[in-house]
Amino acid sequence: MSEENKTLSRRSLLKGVGAASLLPILSACGATAVSKGTAGHVVVVGGGFGGATAAKYIKRGNPAIAVTLIEPKKTFYTCPFSNLVLAGERSLDSIGHNYQELKEVYGVEVVHAYAEDVDPVAHTVRLSTGSTLKYDRLVLSPGIDIRWDALEGYDQAAAELAPHAWQAGEQTRLLRRQLEAMDDGDTFILSAPANPFRCPPGPYERASLIAHYFSQHKPRSKVLILDSKDNFSKQGLFTSAWQEVYGDRIEWVGLSGDGKVVRVDAQKREVETEFGTRHKAGVLNVVPPQKAGKIAERAGVTNSSGWVPVNPRTFEAELAADIYVVGDATVAAPMPKSGFAANAQGKVAAAAIVASLEGTSTVDPHWANTCYSLINPDYGISVAGVYRLENNEIVSPQGSGGLSASDADGWVRRAEAEYAVGWYNAISQDTWGTRL
């Protein structure tokens, strides 16, 4: 039977019996045995924070396991620190990473292709190159996809005029060029989505660093944040830092203040809010509603929310055996959708996969997270969290984690800005091991 037919028959099968009744059967089969004489083959889809980390840590855990990483990009540009690129404080090159160390030091096979489809029954992944890979265990860390149908007027063509820059690379370059070309005195508008979305403090760090750029290069320009929610990450710290550093340059309008953007006119760089107010921007940045990367949908592991529920002990998908999902694509609250968390989840999944292939028992999972945000290059704030499993739920031990002190001295803000850079260098080293 050809690959195409297999996929078809799985689809018709799913239709016939109804996905809901088939899935428990799949899970009941449990972990499939590994082909005799090998330590097993793991395919990892996505070479970002979660996927690259999982690939490396599976190899660290047991070098005999064959690991194939599927990632279309030869250079991965991180979203972390891309706001510094927008502010002209860093080059795009300085946030680019390649897959050399994963290949050469850890022996990961890296295939630069796009995974088109997954057959969870046959345990295969079909690639854009036409070839099909068989896996014993599959890791999906595809990050986010934009919900192109969720915000009127905001489709792929609109994103070329009003960038989201919520996946770094070309979009970052485009938004930076627009900011540079913008007239002094014009307004930068950022439309922020409702929860959940990638990087909860990200829009507010972006607003801060663009205000920093304006304060030096476009002194008459302002930043307007139109928000689809009433509360946001590190709100108190951001709001008081904005007052202190930028005066009234940054204005934030929340949901109850008619901040929710419901229509975008990318040609005119205009947005309309829920109650009909129109705002015209010099540069318009739409951070749109999101969902798990498409391949998760194809693999049948997403639920009606568009995200992937997982068994928190191992990050194996609830809806399919032998498929582990990490990073932004998952439902892992109270952990945020951050690069730090994706990396931490990648390690937990890697340990669980190594144990399952070796037939040993899984150890207790542990995760942590720290999200630094820069108000300007010398002023940092953070939110931290430590997570463990209790009664099969992800919890934060009492008294741990939380925000930078609201009354911290100046040296703390400067130190946190330096530690943000230390964090960036360390997580990049830990995930890819390389800088361009």
Binding site: Y57, F340, N343, A344, K347, V348, A351, A355, V363, D364, P365, H366, W367, A368, N369, T370, S382, A384, G385, V386, Y387, R388, S396, P397, G399, S400, G401, G402, S404, V412, A415, E416, E418, Y419, V421, G422, W423, N425, A426, I427, Q429, D430, G433
Partner: protein, 119 residues
């Protein structure tokens, strides 16, 4: 009273931590370099996983954020406990992180990083 090596270690401990540190040394914690009991190697590796996100793989990256690999277990444990107990005035984030682990877990982590090359 202390060996040359221990004295060298003591000199690397910040002054405000020294009292607690002497207690640890006298308590004999510094002497034991074996893997702390109660946690398998794999368990500690998973627990230590997140440390790498700021300290590099296996805690070996030196920079603004210090490397933690191969530092004496007693020094690491004293520092982690000081963070957990709010006894480190220079803390920015590690006080918030250390509170997420029990004292036994912090000790196991200290031993893991101290003994990385003696596995």
């Amino acid at each position: 009273m202390f060996s040359k090596k221990t004295k060298k270690i003591l000199n690397s401990v910040p002054n405000h931590l020294k009292t607690g540190f002497y207690a640890l040394v006298l308590g004999g914690f510094l002497i034991s370099s074996a893997q702390a009991e109660g946690f398998s190697q794999r368990q500690v590796e998973v627990m230590a996983g997140s440390c790498a996100n700021c300290h590099g793989t296996e805690g070996r990256l030196a920079g603004v954020v210090p490397a933690i690999a191969k530092r004496p277990a007693g020094v690491l444990e004293a520092q982690l406990l000081a963070f957990k107990r709010d006894e480190e005035p220079r803390a920015t984030v590690m006080d918030r992180i250390a509170k997420g682990y029990t004292e036994e877990e912090l000790r196991a982590l200290a031993h893991y990083f101290a003994n990385l090359d003696n596995k």
